[in-house]
Symmetry: C2
Subunit: 187 residues, 2 copies
Amino acid sequence: MTTARTSSLTLEEFLLLPETKPASEFIDSRIYQKPMPQGKHSRLQLKFCNAVNQVAETPQIALAFPELRCTFGGRSIVPDASVFVWERIPFEADGEVPNVFEIYPDWTVEILSPDQRATKVISNILHCIRHGTQLGWLIDPLERLILAFIAGQEPIELTGGDSLPIPKFLTLDLTVEQVFGWLKVAD
Amino acid sequence: MTTARTSSLTLEEFLLLPETKPASEFIDSRIYQKPMPQGKHSRLQLKFCNAVNQVAETPQIALAFPELRCTFGGRSIVPDASVFVWERIPFEADGEVPNVFEIYPDWTVEILSPDQRATKVISNILHCIRHGTQLGWLIDPLERLILAFIAGQEPIELTGGDSLPIPKFLTLDLTVEQVFGWLKVAD
């Protein structure tokens, strides 16, 4: 269960606090610590980021990051995976990836932990969508279900062999089955 | 936690089974039993139905029902509350309310139980929206949060003093605070 602490901190003061493990998020003046990631969560997060970076990194289209703090629109959130179009990434002068992302991700992915409240996670996905994010995935490993959130549309429920919606800037074909197939390690 | 049983039954065979308590739902050839409703759930369900019927029953605009089985589009679901526009209700010849509703509700309301998986509940709300339902509410008493699902729109997150979306056929002003205020009994 997500733990919430009412906070008298401002967003700026929250950002000065030391990072926690798991990460804490600042939402509507409350601090929420994310659940401790478990095996399936960790595996899906890694495989998702790899699947995106495999097609997006070399041609400099986009980059996927696991557990990256994104601070925008009054919240500081840490999506399980976030993807940024290349041009939007504030690379440092030497070309290195920056530490601080004060922008919305173009694609946000949340992976539901067994005891996590989906509504709070959906609230973060909707926060992203309201601020410019094109696509949000909510992956529920227990129900083998992915909900896709797209700006200006009702959410789409995807299961089994359904093709997953992918942002236009990427060429990537994935079905729900393939995503949950990542949970199986190769022989 | 919702319990799922893989079933080799057809929808027609499922409907011939005796009703369970709590009710069972038939979704994608699986049978899911709803969680046992607790105090807050029960109270919100009752107060919601009363709030709707108070403005909608006498002028014959609509009717709200708690725990009504609705069978359509290949699923048989039991929303925590469902509202039907008057003209769509298949009243019996003598004017009595029918037992069997093989139609989608115009407004579906789900109240999240403490351990319930929101994704499965959202899946049912989206099933309704796909089949013609105008509005779905997902009420999360723990987070004091209501998600509103509207056809052709991204979901809306509502908290505190936010005005709740209401179907056009009804005149009803409600804020999130008022809805959760129903949990307090009058002195």
